[in-house]
Symmetry: C2
Subunit: 354 residues, 2 copies
Amino acid sequence: MTTQRRANIIGLGLIGGSVGLALRERGWCVHGDDSDQTRVDRALKLGVLDEQGLCEQAEITFVATPVLTIADQVKRALSETSGIVTDVGSVKGAIAAAITDPRFVAGHPMAGSELEGLDGADPTMFTGAVWVLTPTSDTADSTFAAMAAIAAELGADVVALTPDRHDQVVAVVSHVPHLAAATLMGLASERGEEHAALLRLAAGGFRDMTRIASGNPGIWLDICAENREAILSGLDGLIDGLRRMREIVRDDDRAALYERLRRAREARANLPVRGTHPNELAEVRIPIPDRPGAAAEVFTLAAELGVNITSFEVVHSVEGNRGVAIVLIDVHDTELFRGGLLARGFHPAVQRLD
Amino acid sequence: MTTQRRANIIGLGLIGGSVGLALRERGWCVHGDDSDQTRVDRALKLGVLDEQGLCEQAEITFVATPVLTIADQVKRALSETSGIVTDVGSVKGAIAAAITDPRFVAGHPMAGSELEGLDGADPTMFTGAVWVLTPTSDTADSTFAAMAAIAAELGADVVALTPDRHDQVVAVVSHVPHLAAATLMGLASERGEEHAALLRLAAGGFRDMTRIASGNPGIWLDICAENREAILSGLDGLIDGLRRMREIVRDDDRAALYERLRRAREARANLPVRGTHPNELAEVRIPIPDRPGAAAEVFTLAAELGVNITSFEVVHSVEGNRGVAIVLIDVHDTELFRGGLLARGFHPAVQRLD
């Protein structure tokens, strides 16, 4: 007989609600809380939660509150529960620096929806999405491994990054594009002011580009405050690039324009496709050495090499506390991954699955 | 017994092919030509054309060749055929200035596809799309009216604009967004260079924003050359807006940031929805005075007022050559449209359709 697995969720919005639905679909018992009692009631009604309040023995607590309140709620979860704790905020530097508990690993599921709040919650939201974890040297290996396995259970591809690297990357692929979309929408709206109806000329491409400008403005205030340096750097890069583009158009430098557009097209075509899973898998078993961050390092290395980890678990060997990470990857990536692991002092064993 | 209507298409790419398919679905006989014989053969095979070559008596010739060859092909069509001539290029100032024949009206269907070339042709491409016409004082009323009626027959909403105004608007809603998407994609690609796999973090919003960067680079060289001034002005506006955004983020000016994002969201939400047609229609009959450009003026006014013309035809009164434009609009817009028409010296009669 197995005991039912238990999780807590603090903050019952779009992401917290989706985590709750996804866990319950997989047989978990989900406890949860929110500063707004009407949201708790709605969550119980929608089947997001089994019970109100935090369960002390839950194996994991997800903190899914607004960015600026995450640190306090993580501290609360660490003091009121005995399991591991993670968060789902969009910026990771500050939270990873603020919390140095071995039971905590910061995270960021790269998923969302045009819908807002609990009523937009969707149990399939994480299927094929990237779930970034940003372990530090304070994070226990077992914490990282447990959280990575749960994210994989929810259907996500886990990518481990340092908190700073995460913040730089999301500035470029999420925060700056959002501000650019809003600026572009503002420009069109301003220039279309005399003839608002002329915005009828805005065809599919423009609608695609400005779609993210329809997001909730409130959450962006905290994101811009928390990730200021990386966003400023990204905006500088975009402004410089547009200035160069302006010169190229002004000078009718067709060769340079063609080259820029060609490279952009090529890069766009090479964006990894979300949620595709390989048909042929190989299993890699990696004994995890007894040093901090070793399990996370396996993931970080996979991300650096572009190797997609399809499934991840840590089992404990009979001899003692040392764990063995068992990961599934695309069979074509085995040599690349094995080479990287060996170079970092791991001793992987690869077995092809048929 | 009615004679089958005939059209010519010069240039058998994505748009030319789609016009052919759409016309043939509606019973037209379509003749056509291309500098590349393999494309002509393919068009005959795909059912885009009935016959190769231009038909002298065709009521209309569509010139759908690359931007820089349009003027020559329009001249050829005017000399080799007796019907009206239009083009489908993305920039209108130069062509409208170059051709002063009363049988020509320049146009731009705001439709496209991620597919390229003839094999991407789709007879439904213009359904609900905006088809801009840019008549000048040289364009005969009958030319404009005939072309507007054909565009409406293909399912498009016709919007009449001056050539310059068209070019300014498309710079902001199409050309600058395209260059911005390419710049953003270039920035992400460059910053992700060490860790290409980190582009896996690019979630839906980024993919949406950069989708247009996957277009064919070649066609953009001509567009940037032809619409240089408006594109430079649009790029200046975007760069200024991003600089201001940078100041706001740097200074953590939450009120200003919120206001910008809120306005962008509102403008995005107010983008006219493509292809929705009103349920309740009113018919407006407008005698067309005997002065150049009067029929086009009806359309330009509708665009300025935000009135969507669902259907358009010109009938000739028994007394002589003066035509009467019969347009269908949303019943809620009748008073607005009537006011505008009266102010411009027209004498509309409105009848609600039940």
